[in-house]
Amino acid sequence: MSVGFKAVQWNRQKIVYDAILLAGVALFIGTYMTVGALRKPPADMPAWIDLRINAFGTCAFVMLTIILMIGPLARLSPRFLPLLYNRRHFGVLTFLVALVHAWSVVDWFSAVGAMGDLLTEMTNNAKYMQFIGFPMKALGLFGLTVMFLLAATSHDFWLAFLTPRVWKALHMALYVAYGVLVMHVALGVMQEDRRVFIPILLGCAFAAVTLLHIAAAWRERETRVTSRGWIVVGPPESIPDKRARIVVAPDGERIAVFRDGVQIGALTNLCAHQNGPLGEGRIIDGCVTCPWHGYQYRLEDGCAPPPFTERLVTYRVRLARGVIEVDPAPLPPGTKAAIAVPA
């Protein structure tokens, strides 16, 4: 709900989510450093810092890969929806882990008394013309800068200030940052360390993110349109009760078709708050509830219940020969359009 402003709207689910996140990061880094130190005991302080660089860098890359997998996984199966919830905290924590990685790199150059070498590496123009030998730290710095921008603008204040459209477009830059960071690893540690598992893990992480997005997009392409332009959804029982099926209009707009018992209605898939994926939410207390921040709307007309004022675009639905169809032409926000089907 949107009335009033609270810095952080904590609830039990968010606290549990964050606790699991922090425990996971601590376990990953602790295990990495312990195993690394046992396998090859660091001889001096720079060697310890080197181990820290690798531990935090690997952790940040794994976290970023998981973050980018959550979206398509949730679109493919509602079982992954709990991961979608509070993903912003996941992103901010990933930035902090990456920041420790970057600070450790500076710390290493400081410890060996070679800060000048770091500066030279970052400012050597000739190296920027090479592929192998490209200053990989510059790629890392670019990725870190993007992650900082996203973490700094993750608060709702920035969403309101930038408008949801601009905010979402800005946060799509995470995909660009991921591509750059994949190359940061490929041109960095993969060149120095010849062990075969590094390119395999890097390739698998990138392939997993790519293939999951392709699979989610492919599933949404399976949209049938009748001769009169209505989108075929399927029999009423093909829509899970209290949940939605998402269909894609010819213009690319996603429509969430919800079923609440015998009532079926279609709303835009974009939440009025942050353009969150409404169709991945469910009906709670009779209202369609966004999975991101719990904004609620009535299924019958797309209006938030009083005293809230948000209104969503709705779509006409009909039952034709036992099959639910949706008219892809949007109705004005707040228009009643839901229907009741025979039980």
């Binding site: 592929f131 192998i132 995909y175 660009v176 591509g179 994949v182 190359m183 490929a186 041109l187 993969m190 060149q191 010849r194 390119p199 890097l202 390739g203 990138f206 790519t210 997005h213």
Partner: protein, 50 residues
């Protein structure tokens, strides 16, 4: 089409980075290193008195 293009560019980048990896550095032969060092030091040493 922006995202598929980005994915293809990164996939090509990973492949090129893997294919063009320089061969692993051979450890320097200790004898050669000490010889070179010795030669350079010797050059700085004054001629022994005859």
């Amino acid at each position: 089409m922006l995202w598929p293009a980005l994915a293809v560019i990164v996939a090509i980048g990973i492949t090129m980075a893997l294919v063009w990896r320089p061969p692993p550095k051979q450890p320097e032969a200790p004898a050669a290193a000490s010889s070179a060092s010795k030669t350079r030091v010797d050059a700085l040493m004054p001629e022994p008195a005859k």
